[in-house]
């Protein structure tokens, strides 16, 4: 959660300078409570506003220059900014009566350091979550594997069900059971790893998926990249592999001029980049969505006005989103794994 003490440099908030929820039609300062005015006239804020809306492409007036002129901007009356921007790194509090609704920003994913702050080895909550999940998965799997029985108990059958799912649905449908046997350990590891990391986002207490910061999805995607490239190169050699992937036979000659660069880019960049972005964006969006709905429910519930009556519906919606996030966590692990299998299959498949 955002707290003023953690952002000492931020000029935006003191307890009395809370902005009202923005109304789009306000065109002057008259609609803004007096307490909020210092916020808008603050030099730091005007500088940021000036750069964002007028330094770039959206400049309108002909007499304005790109050069920041804070003194001038402090004088003019300007329409209020609509600050509902997820890219805005300075968090803003919107107050509706008594309720405080914290608009989530990307700061959620970059919490303060617990250990080694400011160094390359900064250790924050995300890393803690990852470590906990990793330890839990390793210990559970080791214990289950060491006492595996012919007639499985309850926890063993859950794991066996998941393994059977990876084997039966992912590997059998893409690589084939015989071909896919060599890659089964890789795919199973990937699936369990990502599933556990994604599910951390909905475990109360952890509340943040290990995959919601780019490092882990990137690692998994690069691992996949190395695996499918090496599988293809091992089978055909470098030139043969590139020819196999980039130049499918049986097309008119001029098409290849267009096709080969695209396919090459696909192999060396787009595949693993899209794996990363898919997983990351899903987890980030899911987390933000949960924060918005749960935070909004709390804000409505504590508002002390008639809005309290709406809060049960918001709460129901929040629980729905929560369930949806469990589904998304499993689905993204599945999609990542099945795409890894498809890429391996593309690299190693024989032409028909």
């Amino acid at each position: 959660m955002w707290s003023p003490s953690r952002h000492p440099g931020s000029p935006r908030l003191s307890s009395e300078s809370l902005l009202c929820f923005p109304r789009c039609s306000t065109a002057d300062h008259g609609a803004i409570p007096r307490s909020a005015r210092p916020l808008i006239d603050h030099p730091e804020r005007t500088r940021v506003v000036h750069r964002r809306t007028h330094g770039g492409r959206t400049r309108i007036g002909p007499d304005q220059e790109c050069r920041p002129r804070p003194a001038r901007w402090r004088r003019t009356t300007r329409p209020r900014e609509i600050e509902l921007n997820t890219a805005d790194l300075s968090p803003t509090l919107y107050a509706e009566g008594e309720s405080l609704f914290h608009v989530p920003t990307l700061d959620e994913f970059f919490p303060d350091a617990i250990l080694f702050g400011g160094t390359w080895f900064e250790f924050n909550r995300v890393q803690l979550v990852r470590l906990i999940v990793l330890a839990v998965v390793l210990i559970v799997m080791c214990v289950l594997a060491s006492r595996a029985k012919l007639v499985p108990g309850r926890s063993q059958s859950i794991v066996e069900l998941l393994i059977e799912f990876v084997n039966g649905t992912i590997i059998k449908n893409t690589l084939g059971l015989r071909e896919g046997k060599a890659f089964a350990p890789f795919l199973m590891t990937l699936f369990f790893f990502l599933l556990a990391m994604n599910l951390a986002g909905v475990v109360p207490g952890l509340n943040l998926a290990g995959t919601s910061v780019i490092g882990l999805p990137l690692l998994a995607a690069l691992w996949t990249f190395v695996v499918y490239i090496s599988a293809g190169v091992k089978k055909r050699g470098i030139a043969g592999y590139l020819k196999h992937e980039t130049a499918p036979p049986g097309l008119p000659k001029p098409i290849y001029l267009l096709l080969v660069p695209i396919e090459f880019l696909q192999v060396v960049l787009i595949r693993w980049a899209s794996l990363t972005i898919r997983l990351l964006a899903n987890m980030v969006a899911g987390h933000i969505m949960m924060v918005v709905f749960i935070g909004l429910t709390q804000g409505l519930l504590l508002s002390g006005t008639w809005l309290v009556a709406v809060s049960p519906f918001a709460g129901a919606l929040a629980i729905g989103i929560y369930g949806f996030e469990i589904f998304v966590a499993a689905l993204q692990a599945f999609i990542f794994t099945i795409l890894a299998a498809v890429y391996i299959q593309m690299a190693t498949a024989d032409e028909h």
């Binding site: 809306t53 959206t58 309108i60 007036g61 002909p62 007499d63 304005q64 003019t76 009356t77 300007r78 329409p79 209020r80 900014e81 609509i82 509902l84 921007n85 997820t86 890219a87 805005d88 990307l106 039966g168 649905t169 992912i170 449908n173 893409t174 899209s274 972005i277 898919r278 990351l280 964006a281 899903n282 980030v284 969006a285 689905l331 599945f334 999609i335 099945i338 795409l339 498809v342």
Partner: protein, 76 residues
């Protein structure tokens, strides 16, 4: 008030961009899932295989919208 500015809309244009970027993949995913439902109705025994293909197709389509999210965060 600056006399040259007649009307102004501030905020982030990336939100509009995201909305636009969601249209195409939305239609695409609809087509994919609809066709899979059709195919499953024709041949229920192929359900598992069709579903895997469906998820792969959805993954490829969905990435366009997710790229729009990332674009908004990068350039917003």
């Amino acid at each position: 008030m600056d006399p040259m500015i007649l009307s102004e809309l501030t905020g982030n244009v990336a939100s509009v961009g995201y909305g636009l970027a969601a249209i195409g993949p939305g239609i695409g995913i609809g087509i994919i899932v609809g066709k899979t439902a059709e195919a499953t109705a024709r041949q229920p025994e192929l359900r598992g295989q069709l579903q895997s293909t469906m998820f792969i197709g959805i993954a490829f389509t969905e990435i366009l919208t997710l790229l729009a999210i990332v674009t908004g965060l990068l350039f917003g």
